[in-house]
Symmetry: C2
Subunit: 544 residues, 2 copies
């Protein structure tokens, strides 16, 4: 057998807990402890967990939180001829949901501004229904009155889909937060749309299951919002798309019709699978009010290896090796480049657990038998090091260390936000061309950019490409767009892999979808929401 050659070179001083990982104990048994593995936005940033830069509920004009420009002033967008909310409308809402009609400007502020603080709506009212019947009453009324509605979950979206553009009524799912049922044999969870992902995780983990999705925003995001945006995230590689794991939905349509497709069956071929329409439609076709979702059994062993790779070719080969040698226990394969590591070190004071490398990968395994997983992982690591695919590495087998390793990857978004103005791209590409875009862009931008970084869910072909600069610059933007989109289209990639379209990406859909598809999307929108009151100005290119 191959010797674990790397051990003597571990830079123990960089990461105090590394000392515990002696070569002999490299593969340790551990048990999944039920807690979440990464700091969530919610827990990191206080009360509402919505922004790293502003304390919600306090004045938004503090020095730490510069005023966010109104969306309708920053972008060339025109208000559509919806009605304006009147005193009579407010009185009607108050009758439907007494004491849950919010008009206080301070409370509204948190819902008018997005997490990235790049968009600001001027909604005058926030509604907090508790049931689908209440949502139905509200929408029936808004439909009759021609009032526009912006459904909002945890407001953690990155493309401006979750906040109003003008004065749309904000319909919050925050109080629709009840678990309806959980089946112990099958792992099928039925819950309301406003349940927070992390709370659902905790709930099902207590019952020996896990949620089939996990993402950085878990402490704030709502399951309804996850579905509406077809969230991808960290478990996608293993458990697949929500289009496969969601079993049923309850949706309220634009005219108030309650569409009950909330079955708890794994198989149901009775007609068209209507729920699929609403997964990823960003609240523009209906309001998701309840969800039935299949939860996988909780793995008994979880291990995370954090590795340094000498080049991107080795990142790819390590992935192929992982798939072959770890097989069914591989649950995540994430990568980040050296500049990402510099940013988390500089802004968040997180130290690298391995020697400086051009690339880093995080490999997670989840399995049902501790010693089998340890053996598989050990064989893989020996092979990866022995063949030079990996030049340094560390392994975590207990919850605390696993969280620290995941933090390096999950907190990149936060580090970027602290670096300056961030141009964000979320792209799907064939894996073998994935990093070429970052390299090309770095050469193209030169000193215009502070940082050009690439990281993401390599296992899913999903690149998060981010460019930072001291401040917003139209000329830098001009160098970025349409270049990034054309480059992506040239590879038949997707210009929005998992973040969605929202307000910010509607004009670039055409890079990934042909005109016939855009036309059919528009027809579906017209069929389901003929007055266009649901989340207007979002998802589809604005009508001529």
């Amino acid at each position: 057998a191959m010797v674990w050659r790397l051990a003597p070179r571990w830079p123990v001083w960089l990461f105090p807990w590394r000392a515990a990982c002696t070569p002999g104990a490299f593969v340790q048994q551990r048990t999944w402890a039920g807690a979440t593995r990464s700091p969530s936005w919610g827990r990191l940033h206080g009360v509402a967990g919505v922004s790293p830069l502003v304390r919600r509920g306090s004045s938004s004009t503090s020095s730490q939180a510069p005023e966010v420009v109104l969306t309708c002033e920053r972008y060339p967008v025109r208000r559509l001829p919806f009605s304006t909310v009147s005193e009579e409308d407010l009185a009607t809402f108050e009758r439907i949901i007494p004491r849950r009609v919010i008009t206080d400007p301070e409370e509204l502020e948190a819902s008018n501004v997005d997490w990235l603080r790049t968009m600001r709506g001027c909604s005058k009212v926030l509604l907090k229904p508790r049931t689908s019947e209440e949502v139905s009453h509200i929408l029936r009324y808004c439909h009759e009155r021609n009032l526009a509605v912006n459904t909002q979950g945890g407001n953690t979206g990155l493309v401006g889909g979750s906040v109003p553009v003008f004065d749309e009524i904000i319909l919050s799912t925050a109080l629709m937060n009840q678990v309806v049922s959980f089946q112990d044999i099958s792992g099928i969870l039925v819950c309301q749309a406003g349940c927070i992902l992390e709370e659902l995780s905790r709930y099902v983990e207590e019952r020996d299951f896990i949620m089939p999705l996990d993402l950085g925003a878990k402490g704030s995001c709502h399951i309804g919002g996850n579905l509406a945006t077809n969230a991808g995230g960290l478990r996608f590689l293993r458990y697949g798309s929500l289009h496969g794991t969601v079993l049923g939905l309850e949706v309220v349509l634009a005219d108030g019709t309650v569409l009950n497709c909330l079955t708890s069956l794994r198989k149901d071929n009775t007609g068209y699978d209507l729920k699929q329409l609403f997964i990823g439609s960003e609240g523009t076709l209906g309001v998701i009010t309840a969800v039935s979702i299949l939860c996988p059994p909780k793995p008994r062993a979880v291990n995370v290896a954090f590795l340094g790779c000498p080049g991107f070719a080795e990142v790819l080969q390590t992935f192929s090796t992982c798939k072959r040698m770890l097989g069914e226990i591989l649950s995540a394969y994430e990568f980040m480049d050296a500049e990402c590591m510099q940013l988390v070190r500089h802004h968040l004071h997180l130290a690298s657990p391995v020697q400086e490398s051009p690339f880093y990968v995080l490999v997670e395994t989840s399995g049902s038998r501790v010693e089998h997983d340890a053996e598989k992982l050990s064989s893989f690591l020996e092979h990866a090091l022995g063949s030079g695919l990996v030049t340094d590495g560390t392994l975590a087998t207990d919850q605390g260390k696993i969280k620290m390793l995941w933090a390096l990857r999950e907190r990149i978004t936060e580090a970027l936000t602290r670096d300056g103005y961030v141009y964000k791209y979320d792209i799907s590409l064939p894996v073998d061309r994935l990093y070429d875009l970052v390299t090309d862009l770095r050469a193209r931008l030169g000193s215009q950019a502070k940082h050009v970084v690439g990281y993401g869910h390599l296992g899913d072909g999903n690149l998060h490409l981010n460019v930072t600069a001291e401040a917003f610059s139209p000329s830098l933007l001009g160098d970025l767009e349409p270049y990034v989109y054309e480059w992506t289209a040239g590879q038949r990639g997707s210009v929005s892999a998992e973040h969605g379209v929202g307000f910010k990406k509607q004009s670039v859909l055409g890079y990934s979808k042909p005109p016939e598809a855009l036309r059919l999307m528009q027809q579906l929108k017209t069929l389901l929401d003929p007055k266009g009151i649901l989340n207007p100005y979002k998802t589809l290119p604005t009508r001529a």
Copy 2:
């Protein structure tokens, strides 16, 4: 450790190869040999592989193949006012696809009659396009001329969805059978819709991957038909729904528009996920012409255990135990009752490999490391036997024996067909109530039925309920329906789990879907196929 108490009781004489499975060698190492594990309909029944009772291409009036009554004579259905195919139409088709316009009555026979020999259309022409452009030309012409079109893949459907009801033009995908591309790193296959599932399986297995679906009809069925019917099958438990594994589709719409959503990306959130509309729409919304699908890596070890259980409660507990102890390597959990075993023994002369039991389960594992899988399976079997959940069992670790065990489960359909007239129901139910329906029905029908049997994909909550009788009887039918549907609706189950709706189940959709859902389905049909030329009389309840 527990002793493998069962070994001495193995009835070795029943199953010659059992002798090889000595207790000490109970768990043996084996390698996946790449071949398919079960006899397919195609290979069992000759040339076209479509029917066990008729030799295709020969006269249909032989004594073995009684004439099938015309659908329009057997069922109260009225022809809609479509045009009738004229000589001029045939000449046009001949220009679009020279020498691939079939009007020979004998050749048409195989496409006018369904596999179960319960439906017969009277189409006068069969078209065999090779490309989506040809399909587009054909549909544009049919749309203008108001000609109805029945798309047909392998014609293996069980609900009459694949054959014409009247004189609809049959559009066969048989010549659209080319693989377009395969990506070795990601396992993404792109191919035309007419590729036969078994041939695709062979193709990807040679490249160290497997198809994410497998079903009894694999020797004949087309991947396009699998998608159009949202096929479930034997790998569903492990690899999930086609809604999750299909990455892209190319579809020709009713008016001839080619909708190219044939991306090869795992993540793509650029607008509504249009491909989902067509998965499971049974050719009524568009014609699927090409497919992009994600293939899982080929497991290096496959094992099958066939077990006898003393009761249905033990079948359920064994399933829970499996999920806990086999975890990520569990790839199938099928069950069949004692009457199923009697039928395969009587009609197909297959012997039971275990002692007679009220229930049998087939457990399959697929994993990446032979010895780990063997250990997991061994622990599970010791526990299951030690705790009395299982009273007898056998294990197969090589390809030949695995095929024999799978044949017991996969050939039940065939054995039923030989038993007489078969009333078929394909139902999803909460697993804990799954078998109650069989028991209730057996009591209700008494001596009216020859056999009332239950089997299926227990891991998916999917019951195949079949009732046999000497001949069709309206009074027996009256005792079965609506009883079975009402019973299912009472449990919030699905009246069509995986077989679909087709022609036969359209009137019962309402048992599983609310009126609001049926209305929206109808609206989608009208949007996508305003003249209703695609697969008319199918899927949706006939319009008033």
